[in-house]
Symmetry: C2
Subunit: 460 residues, 2 copies
């Protein structure tokens, strides 16, 4: 435990840069929307705070591929002049640049799509607008949210480190107080990993909880829309906006008496000291809070899920990227060309086997996870790697993406240099609301521990 | 067998209306592309033939929501002036109006989307253009390809009957010689059913064989892009264009010695006399051709697939139509509103159970179907119903859509009044090329029989 500390909110703000954060930009979406609804804050003032923060920090963080303050101001003025549209009225949201936005380009951070501008909104964007949100800009991403060109985005906690990928800009923008909310996507570990590295909450809901229409399709059987926030309450707010109702089983009233499984997962051998310590710390905190904590070892069959994920993703991409390959051929980045040529030699039998293992393990995981209020597992192997080329590995995320389970990253712990390391709360498919509720309790527990025990606030 | 006859090509043309079909409009896509490549036909001349046929027949058939001859002519002129792009150079293709086309509106045949015009191409449209095809127009569809407003399209064989749905216009336009090829989509029975009713070939490939990006998403785990043609050769040509390579196991060289399973399917009790007779006729023809024909009875577990399909489709639609529901609410058609409100009361346990049954049966069907060269099953319960309100039932298609198996409708048989009734050739997932090859043999066998035995050319 020598390397791990408890990250405080103040620490996050300090790490995020020397410039002071405008007061309105510190607000959560829930707080901001409440103040706007009460007439205590205008959408314009909130937008200006976020614009000011973004302009002050953009050279350092580079979270956006497309950002037009004038368009943000126009939307804010419309919100201030109009009747309340919904629970996000006037709240700025960042949109990953593989999701269509009718009023901004969608570049996929690809050199071949710099002037690509679909004139329709992705489903998730349409839902945000219907709830009153303001589209703040397009968040930088790894090319096509897969591989190839990296986002230019830096980790707000250390400009020499990656924010993770592929939803690099979405995570960094929220962590850096540039926007209270942002949207990402996950096919491997593209939502949860950046959240872990940047120290924010994030949710990858059950597969298809939010329609992926208008997202650059990668692997449709696992592509998942997700979102970032600085509080679990805001994560839940977006569940409301997206009509995610859960499975009807209620969350425990508190951690006292709750039944929590700690799952090291089949890739535990890849865990670095920070992830190991984070899971141990979490176990102690949960036990101290009165939870019944058990270790959940997944059956051997689950060991094959990482490979199955790779097979499914690579094989499905051969259909979904065929139009780009037909148009661009070898001008696409080398790894994508290799995928299109099936250089790995995957057969249809490999793909059927992967689908069958996934289906079997989905059912088995749901059944075992129903025995707990939630399951906690590492979000990443450790803290963000150095440099921007290596966006870290999806090792600890692939199996949950393939299992279609709801995952929430809980921030609050940090390793060497104050770099965040997250924990994932998960559960059976469709237990989204329970997972969010337990994530909120766990996050509060970590924060409370930091308040109660000052010796844990700094690296030991 | 008293009701069933063998449909001849001439019969189709006669049934399609009194106006003579221009010679070039009779060509298959394969024939037309070969002539264009050889310099024996221009794209412009082919386009004019299709335009003339369409204009002559549009009042009767009404296969299009959007049709602009000028745009077709411009594309044809570009093809004639340009270097050969691919195997569809200069060939007109109809596009179902739930698929994005950058140069034509995409109305979903919904009163709420009449001016909807996404400026990007669906993946399938981009692939067609890359192969040199000409986007001929948008084919009428049941609203959102689900329910609500019906296509205005009439069956080319009988204007008093439905062409089937939801890909109504796509099937009718090809059957009526207005275009050699068209694209449809299937979530229930929307590709195969209209093909059966209109007497044309059609393919619903293995799920995700063609990317569904740019299709109005309905139920992403089963939404499938499909296509129509007047020959099995043309069906195979589109497999080439879409890089569908199959599972590596070759098709039998001929029906002589081929192993074919006849599967009445779990919904056999819904089969009308025409479907029963078609399957019996098929059995006799296959046996006469030297095939080893066996009856395949699916296990009892497969009986649940029809309900499972319904649960999955309804539940997934609650995510995919949420943007439309957020924008339009009760202005949407009543059945869709009921789906969005979950008036059927489906639970997440229902949905998990449906997913698990589907996964189990996919594996089981693949395993048993590997024992044959192909499986033959009814395409529809019978011939097209009367009127345009009832587009027929997807009863015989739902389970194959849910099983993700490749399906090809084979035309050639007809019932009372010369109305077509089709047979489906299917097989394990990824056996697409083998299924097409067997469909071609079966189609030839039906045609040959009609030539050899004049007594089968007319209703007996």
């Amino acid at each position: 435990m020598g390397r791990l500390a408890t990250m405080t909110r103040q620490a996050t703000e300090n790490a995020a840069g020397a410039a002071p954060v405008p007061a309105a930009a510190r607000l959560s979406a829930t707080e901001a929307a409440a103040r706007i609804a009460a007439g205590d804050l205008t959408a314009a003032a909130l937008a200006e705070a976020c614009i000011a923060r973004t302009l002050a920090r953009d050279d350092a963080v580079r979270a956006w591929t497309v950002f037009e303050p004038g368009m943000v101001r126009r939307q804010a003025a419309e919100r201030d002049a109009g009747t309340p549209l919904g629970p996000l009225h006037g709240v700025p949201v960042g949109i990953k640049d593989i999701l269509f936005t009718r009023d901004l380009p969608t570049t996929y951070n690809s050199p071949h799509f710099q002037s690509h501008h679909p004139n329709v909104d992705a489903a998730v964007v349409a839902l945000l607008r219907a709830a009153g949100a303001i589209v703040f800009g397009k968040n930088d991403t790894v090319e096509f949210a897969v591989n190839g060109r990296r986002a230019r985005t830096r980790n707000p906690h250390d400009p020499g480190r990656t924010p993770g990928g592929s939803s690099s800009g979405s995570a960094a923008a929220v962590a850096d107080f540039q926007v209270p909310l942002s949207i990402g996507t996950q096919t491997g570990g593209s939502v949860i990993r950046p959240a872990s590295y940047c120290g924010v909450y994030a949710m990858k809901p059950t597969w298809n909880a939010v329609s992926a229409e208008g997202m650059k399709t990668c692997a449709p059987s696992i592509d998942t829309i997700g979102w970032y926030a600085r509080s679990a309450e805001d994560i839940a707010l977006l569940c409301d906006v997206f009509s995610i109702t859960g499975d009807g089983r209620s969350a425990p009233a508190s951690l006292d008496g709750a039944s929590i499984a700690i799952c090291r997962s089949p890739v535990w051998d890849k865990a670095e000291p920070e992830a190991r310590e984070a899971l141990e710390r979490c176990t102690l905190l949960l036990e101290a809070a009165g939870a019944r904590v058990e270790t959940l070892d997944l059956p051997d069959r689950f060991d094959g899920l990482t490979d199955a994920h790779k097979v499914i993703m690579q094989c499905e991409m051969r259909s979904t990227f065929l139009p780009e390959y037909a148009a661009l051929g070898d001008a696409l980045y080398a790894e994508l060309v290799a995928t299109m040529r099936n250089e790995a030699g995957y057969t249809s039998a490999d793909l059927r086997g992967a689908y069958e293992l996934a289906a079997e393990c989905r059912a088995r995981f749901d059944a075992v996870a129903e025995g707990y209020d939630a399951v906690v597992t590492p979000s990443t192997a450790g803290i963000a790697p150095k440099g921007l080329d290596d966006t870290g590995a999806a090792t600890f995320n692939r199996i949950w993406t393939l299992l279609h389970t709801p995952c929430v990253n809980v921030p609050g712990l940090s390793g060497p240099g104050g770099m965040p390391v997250g924990l994932t709360v998960t559960g059976p498919r469709f237990s989204d609301r329970r997972v969010v509720a337990v994530a909120e309790m766990l996050g509060a527990c970590i924060r409370h521990r930091s308040t109660a025990s000052p010796d844990h606030q700094q690296p030991e």
